[in-house]
């Protein structure tokens, strides 16, 4: 597993961002760059899949925090799916479950955008 690779996929009007590896202050630029580009392009319905992340440091959560209101202002949202282990734990202890909707699976997260 390399430090970080970020793949994106489209599922109807939702973009799934799938980072593989880990996100820390060194690798976050890669992750943030992808999110930035999506939000700037108006691709604001975003699901981040955590299935292939080994850990995410505060810098990674900061990237989501810094963009989520922009995505919401554009009629979308940033939602996360398939968090496991340390990533899920850190999400919770940072209180991100109050900022950001999470889903057990990527499919559920994609479907959650169906209503609006």
């Amino acid at each position: 597993m390399p430090d970080l690779q970020v793949a994106t996929r489209r599922a109807a009007e939702v973009v799934v961002v799938e980072p593989t590896g880990f996100i820390n202050a060194h690798t976050v630029a890669e992750f943030e760059g992808v999110l930035n580009a999506l939000v700037e392009a108006g691709d604001v319905r975003i699901v981040i899949s955590g299935a292939h992340l080994s850990y995410v440091a505060s810098a990674g959560f900061g990237a989501i925090m810094g963009l989520i209101e922009e995505a919401r202002a554009g009629g979308g949202d940033i939602r996360v799916a398939a968090l496991t282990g340390t990533v899920a734990h850190i999400f919770r202890v940072l209180g991100f479950d109050r900022l950001c909707r999470t889903f057990e699976t990527e499919e559920e997260a994609i479907l959650s955008f169906g209503g609006h």
Partner: protein, 154 residues
């Protein structure tokens, strides 16, 4: 001619200098995670300790040394009977104060991309302070209690 014992005996406390750069974060994470595993912490606790130490290292790189190149951090693993203590000593700026909590909603509305580092260290470890042991020297001290250890009431 005996073999070298693992951490905790002949070579403890372990002390190494690391370049204060974000490029070294993953290696520090990995060395910390393995130190914690070797000390008997379970895999998820070891991961959490490694993330916390990565936050302290990031703080030193970005705030204490303001991203300037050419500085070092002295990393110490100090296993004790009740807790694993890890120190990151530097010669950069000290934080004026440590945040006691964060208001995520407000940070998000202000489009802030940071401000979570110290908070996360605190949530993952049992004891986090920044000390100034001498003029011009700063030191993050992080402790995680061993499973089953009940700290004294305070």
């Amino acid at each position: 001619m005996e073999g070298i014992e693992p951490l905790g005996t002949e070579r403890a406390p372990l002390e190494i200098d690391v370049p204060a750069t974000c490029e070294c974060l993953s290696l520090v994470h990995e060395a910390t995670r393995r130190a914690a595993l070797a000390e008997g912490f379970d895999p998820s606790a070891a991961d959490e300790i490694a993330v916390a130490v990565g936050e302290a290292m990031t703080n030193v790189v970005e705030h204490a040394y303001r991203g300037e190149p050419g500085h070092a951090v002295r990393l110490r693993f100090l296993p004790g009977p009740d807790a694993l203590r890890i120190e990151l000593e530097h010669r950069g700026a000290a934080p004026a104060s440590l945040p006691t909590g964060v208001d995520l909603g407000r940070l998000a509305r202000e489009r802030r991309r940071g401000g979570l580092g110290v908070h996360l260290m605190r949530r993952l470890m049992d004891h986090v302070v920044h000390e100034e042991p001498a003029a011009g020297v700063g030191c993050w001290v992080l402790e995680r209690n061993r499973a089953g250890f009940r700290p004294p009431e305070s």
